[in-house]
Symmetry: D2
Subunit: 376 residues, 4 copies
């Protein structure tokens, strides 16, 4: 790909930031206060806007219900618009009500399942009002002890619950189905891997797709292959980008193994033109010791740099080397792209668009950060 | 379940032993000689017969081609018969030819794929001659380095290769599709998990099923849930029983976490009557420091004991406790069964059938072991 | 060991329960209310007393400061006494103050380290007043991102902080040093494994020892070997018993792999007479979906049963088999003990001491549970 | 660091290549033939020379006894000299003799231990003749089944065996002690982690040090912290460089997570001047599908590039950011160095020294590879 083309594609590349990424978050041990963290929905949208303005790489902001509940979703849509973003995926919350102690959409008790379904339907309404096109489902259901749950029946109950939800979605909406290896359930999770998520998606219909969260796999899982298979099947719907060293650590994007992230993008480029927003590329991290806005800028920029590198892969040469089983040559073609310093490309993209040359420095050294921190 | 019923079911419970489990095996560092190990096909069948006779729990012996290649498969069938077993699953070998360095059924080179397919067809012929009903496919294909292989195209090539193989199988034969997390490929494996195996099975037809090897998962994987889901879908075809603490360690059955094995059997009992041979229950272990026959007796007996325990679960009480979300009661019902000393049940089953009271002691303290070791 | 001896040792076997195990706890997603959970220090001590009375296997209750802070520790000691227990290990809290966001005893800021040290000294005073002999240190310190912390300097700061703490401890007090693979720090933890904990213990002095929490290891770690090595060095100080399938899941004792727990006890019996309280055997679990008292009864009983099984190992025969490298015989000696149904032994021990025959049933079917739940 | 200084240090940076890395190797399933692989000791030394000449980054070649056994070690030393390298670490083989089935230096049988000790002493003699200064011990000893071995006694036997070996070493020789999480022992390994290796080193004396193989850790282990701690204690002796995604995959250096390798070098630079050969930096990989010489060139070049990047870290700025707990700034300082394209630096270093501009291309496109492959 010619450099000008890379710059062009990079210019159009956008990701979604999560509203909850600007507020306090933490571990089961404590949630530390971070100076400047957003205190309410309005501030979260503003922060998303700030990241969008500085990086030029943000399309939208994902919201979480009820954390982002409001009386007036039309106003929310306009607020987002004023901040240069749209409302992205709507995320129902199925883990914070006391009723959900033994599961939500899979609870043995029909009335609890009904409540969970209702909450999803409420989220669909919010999607209609906010013009959101993705219902992003993360299911905490599972069990903590052998014997606790009839696991296959729980899977069956999930299908029945989701059939109702899916049936209520508009024809231009997608259901993104997230899976997770473990936590908060510690013996089994109903949607434990891409295979279980795919089963559900296939039963529901073609607008049900898999959402890959980079922290939700067993150690060693080749995530780029999962991504490739799901893409090949037309079932990849989106991502939750973050990093992990151990479990679902929710560290900022690319902080532990940037090469793995690059390999995922290389795989994606085989199936999608990511400059055209064909996938829900969402950041979902819980950065407990970093400036909230700063960490989000870091993450968007990391995704931009990795995307640029992935575009530099000489795909024709790669397929040629592969066809000859030239392992070294194939690998070197990837490394050639990965090791390229893409900062000049980033610089050009930013200059073309009037963006700050270094969004992170800009944020910290301008009055911006101080103003926000002082105000809150 | 009444004790007499448990004894009855246990009496009918059979597993398959692998011919290769009686010969030398080892790690990449060395294969140690074990006194009494079988030196040829005939001795392997005889050893299977010995384990069958002493434990009363062996139906058949799995063979591996070309390790068990012979000029006369009819004679092999008769040899097995004389030793009280049948020929079970036939296992093609797709990893030991130099041609397979870059893959077998998925090799980019069509002529290598053809060779691999041909070998599978050869195995189908052997199945017809030995009256075997299961083609047990373990695919070593994958890649060692990022970039080496176009992963989704390799998956596609696998499908095309297997369509030919599946098309040649008789209507009463099953294709068992094994998956593996890693090794011998260390970056990606084409059949990496139950999800990829299921995709292949579904594309091929209803006699293509998943084979679960207990050592082929990521650390922490809830195998009993995988087993449950595959059973629910009607796609569970069989097992390779062994144990692991780290990777695919191929230790003898139940040696690391017998409770996990019990939980798998509890799940199986929800879908199958294992006394009726509805699944290919095959031992596949590589016991490098134990007497070959001794280790196999241990493993068969372990499976018998675990099966007996799993039958003791009060399933009605279990479902009742589950329906009330009584986590402690559900768990205690399982523990009640698991902690029962089933040696009296084993004793009764053995007495009823004229089997030695302690097959392991019988083997080592009778002249049997000495005769075999001296002869070889 | 003769059965009467087993019964005798089992009669004297005691473990410590954690006060925090009776109160609400949870994951980072939610802490669910459990009916009957303790609401304050007094109720926690009473609950410990209830478990002690029903199981006959509880010596003491571990406390956590400030969660169990009180104006009158003498009164606390008497309260414990009235409930048939003593005050066990005192656990300082170094993770819930805002000041600790970048570490406690290792914080780059000297004033924060001082604060953390002071809190430990406060705990030593509480030990003196409650007659506790163990200061149980779990250190959350570490870092979330590469670069964040100079790791070796942080280790050095830890040593300096602990030298002060250790210097203030009475000559009959022990410092128990816990380590943890990860969480809440997700890139590195200062005390990451038994090796780092041992380094600290050796620098401090002979009353500094290692505390092993069963959930704080990498997947696959052979914990029984760690226990053996630490015991051999005279540096094993105690345990935090719980179970895990994935990470630090804090499930109830023995719920995932009871055989592993048995193997740990077999190793311990080589070095300690556990009926003589030579080690701090502490339960530390976070049972979020089980009755608090019920789960604790389950765990104490599980430890009693496993301890009984471990005593049944024929150690002489085991060493004999080992000396001949008889792998099968060695393993069968362990299995023989593990598979023994120890419920008759438990029954005898309970009858001898006038304990309820089934503490769990007793708790749930007597009025006891109802009274507690109704009262709270 | 100024660029000229980086170029200077890079010019002096050397690693050791393993003789066995040029010969056939494989997995337990098969060892595939690679065209051009070395067939004997002489060819292995020549290949090391080829890599040295092309990359300018090789000091020495590690040998493995008995694989590299010869009648005339003086001649071997001269052969190495003619190829521009010296003889590096001598590696005893304690895993391929039938006697070692139940262990070598820890075998319960004194005569086997003696044999293993003798082999180590033989290696010391070879060190004297080849002027090697490092005895590099990898111990395969451990056990496959619970009960098999008295683990703490085995550790004790290891100490006693190594005391003899250590006692025979010259005062300018070092004993490098490798540890391994698992394989070929699958239940426990006697030297399982850096902690056990350190215990042994401390008992033996100050010339006994830890050798870190990047593939020998549990998933998730923070290796850079292990490296830091061992360095701080003055106990880090060297490395076996390779890559892994799952277990001890022995892939070529930097192929899975180059950022982790960079972080290790950043840590090393705090304690060592790696341009001055203060550590045994040895490549130990088993590249089964790549050209042997090609893969080794790739690996040396990868280490050179990573080393160059690690030198670019602004350490003063890093410590300043750390002192302020500025997590984002600390991380960005590392990323700034890691993301720098060091190919210009490599180019300058090569030009200065008259090395080929692209050693890999040079090897494959010159007649060199063809000549070697044709000749063998």
């Amino acid at each position: 790909m010619k450099l000008s083309e890379v710059v062009d594609k990079l210019s159009k590349f956008r990701v979604e930031v999560p509203s909850w990424g600007f507020s306090r978050s933490g571990t089961r041990f404590h949630s530390f206060h971070i100076p400047g963290e957003a205190r309410n929905l309005e501030e979260r949208i503003e922060d998303a806007g700030t990241v969008a303005k500085l990086t030029g790489g943000v399309s939208s902001v994902a919201i979480h219900i009820p954390w982002d509940k409001t009386d007036d979703y039309i106003a929310l849509r306009h607020l987002a618009g004023r901040n240069g973003v749209t409302i992205g995926a709507v995320n129902p919350n199925l883990f914070q009500e006391e009723d959900y102690i033994f599961g939500s959409l899979t609870n043995p008790d029909a009335s609890v399942r009904e409540k969970a379904v209702k909450h999803c339907l409420e989220c669909i309404k919010i999607m209609q009002e906010t013009d959101s096109k993705a219902l992003s489902l993360w299911l905490p259901d599972g069990s903590n002890y052998p014997g606790q749950v009839n696991m296959t029946q729980a899977f069956d109950r999930l299908l029945k619950s989701l059939e109702i939800v899916y049936g209520e979605m508009d024809s231009d909406m997608e259901l993104l189905i997230e899976y997770k290896f473990f936590e908060p359930a510690f013996y089994h999770t109903v949607l434990s891997d891409w295979g279980t998520a795919l089963l559900v998606a296939e039963r529901l219909g073609e607008r049900a797709k898999i959402l890959v969260d980079l922290g939700h796999h067993a150690q060693g899982t080749n995530i780029e292959y999962v991504v490739g298979i799901a893409s090949m099947l037309g079932r990849l719907g989106g991502f939750h980008f973050n990093s992990r060293k151990y479990a679902d650590d929710d560290l900022t994007v690319g902080s532990i193994n940037p090469y793995e992230l690059f390999l995922i993008f290389v795989e994606l480029n085989s199936f999608f033109d990511l400059s055209g927003r064909q996938l829900a590329l969402v950041i979902d991290q819980s950065h407990n010791v970093k400036s909230k806005i700063g960490a989000m800028i870091q993450s968007v920029v990391m995704l931009q740099k990795i995307y640029a590198r992935s575009l530099l892969v000489d795909r024709e040469a790669l397929e040629h080397a592969r066809s000859k089983n030239d392992v070294i040559a194939s690998e070197e073609i990837l490394l050639e792209a990965f090791e390229t310093d893409v900062r000049p490309i980033m610089k050009e993209m930013r200059e073309n668009r009037g963006l700050p040359d270094n969004p992170l420095n800009h944020f910290f050294s301008s009055s911006l950060e101080k103003e926000i921190t002082d105000a809150r």
